[in-house]
């Protein structure tokens, strides 16, 4: 067993892992942070997506020890008490979540996009979300949600 220290959503954690433990296993099974989902568990579907130092990664194929000392953000870390993140607001307003299983990953992929490109086109959004599969909603309303959030965040800045 090896000692792992990491920060998740601004809080420091210390735990022990094996050489084979994934970041997803640490988040869900050790820290009980369950918004990253176990989907395909092989890096294909994107529902386990988290941000490591603001970069989008698939936690199911990320070795836990490789995140030593890193800052992890899950969708729980986006909202503040009483205040949802504009992306969460927009997904709610525009019905971007249908069954909700892909939603945490979608929102984090969208956040990674908007951090880099605050004024994306619909095509930019589609490209940025192309690694995150949705099986029930058909993507249109998800793209609508991200576009609405981008506009909202742009107005808030001005």
């Amino acid at each position: 067993m090896h000692s792992l220290e990491l920060t998740v959503n601004g809080r420091s954690y210390q735990t022990t892992v094996t050489l084979k433990t994934t970041l997803l296993e640490v988040l869900r099974d050790k820290l009980f942070i369950t918004s990253p989902k176990v989907g395909c568990n092989s890096g294909d579907c994107g529902t386990c997506s988290v941000l490591i130092d603001d970069k989008l990664v698939r936690s199911c194929i990320t070795n836990a020890l490789s995140t030593q000392g890193k800052e992890i953000t899950t969708v729980e870390g986006l909202s503040k008490p009483g205040h949802l993140h504009p992306l969460q607001e927009a997904f709610h307003e525009k019905y971007g979540a249908q069954c909700g299983f892909c939603t945490p990953g979608m929102i984090l992929a969208a956040k990674a996009l908007l951090d880099e490109n605050p004024k994306p086109s619909r095509k930019d959004v589609r490209e940025a979300l192309s690694g995150n599969l949705c099986r029930c909603a058909g993507y249109g309303k998800i793209v609508d949600s991200v576009m609405a959030a981008a506009e909202q965040m742009g107005q808030a800045k001005n």
């Binding site: 395909c40 294909d44 249908q98 589609r126 979300l129 949705c134 993507y139 249109g140 309303k141």
Partner: protein
Amino acid sequence: MKKRGIGIGASLYPTGMSGGGDSSQAQVKVQPDGTVVLTTGACDIGEGCKTVLAQMAAEVLGINYEQVKVINDNTDNCPLSFGTFASRVTYVDGKATVDAAEKARDILFEVAGQMLEANPGDMEAVDGKISVKGSPDRSLPIGEVAGAATFGMRKLVVGLGHYMREPSAPDPETGEIDPFCTLAWAAVLAEVEVDTETGEVDLLRLVCSYDVGTAINPLLTEGQIEGGGAMSIGAALSEELYPNYPSLEQAPTNLGDYAIPTTMDIPDIEAVIHECPSTNGPFGAKGIGEMTANTPAPAIINAIHDAVGVWIMTLPATPERVLRALDEKGGA
């Protein structure tokens, strides 16, 4: 060369199971404060039945749907629902919910009748109040009525509802049969661009029009139409269940091999809701869950034929199948 084509798919789809035994039950309990607890066995797999059933109970009781709490979390505590399949929940569980809500409302009418010295048959439930029809000044908030029932009259304001369609046997003389709760109808238009050199099919536009009866919740209805459309696009163009070579060992085992459409494969699906209320559904509703995934694929295959003149008879229309069909025909 890239060639464009347009195709249409049309379908009809029955709601619920024919043949009898397709049963759903519901319980509606009006709490002493006037809020409502709906207990149902209907399982929400993302289509939104918790919202839709709450809307129906609220409509019957004349309250806002936010005041309805839906419990559907386990089969031990909840009334039975035959299940979330066969496009049946909005219709069958909806009818059970309406039945339960009406029975709870009858108890409220009886209690309010005593309180207002009026005939229970002359009451209505509107805007959170139980009123004497035509005399809006003679009314009581629903919470006051439920409170008086609970704390004054030893009455439990609970309605138990049920729906199960009678099986229909064919008429021995004519063969006529009426097996379905109701029928929904659909027409889908697809526009594709086929690359005759690579065999790739690009879906440019998909317009999906469904006769939904009454759209109990239009936003959720659109969600079903778009989601089913996405599944159908996968079935038409990329999702291969069996391998190209005759061995199950080579079947796809992960989402890299079994290609579910991504954001890059699905255009903005245009959902068109056509409302033609069913005569017997709850508030005129029909079920469209499954047919949304059935109708677009034939439209896409027809569009490919319109574009390059070949019929793809095995789904999905992969580049290989399109190219082989073009070869057989001797070019586009």
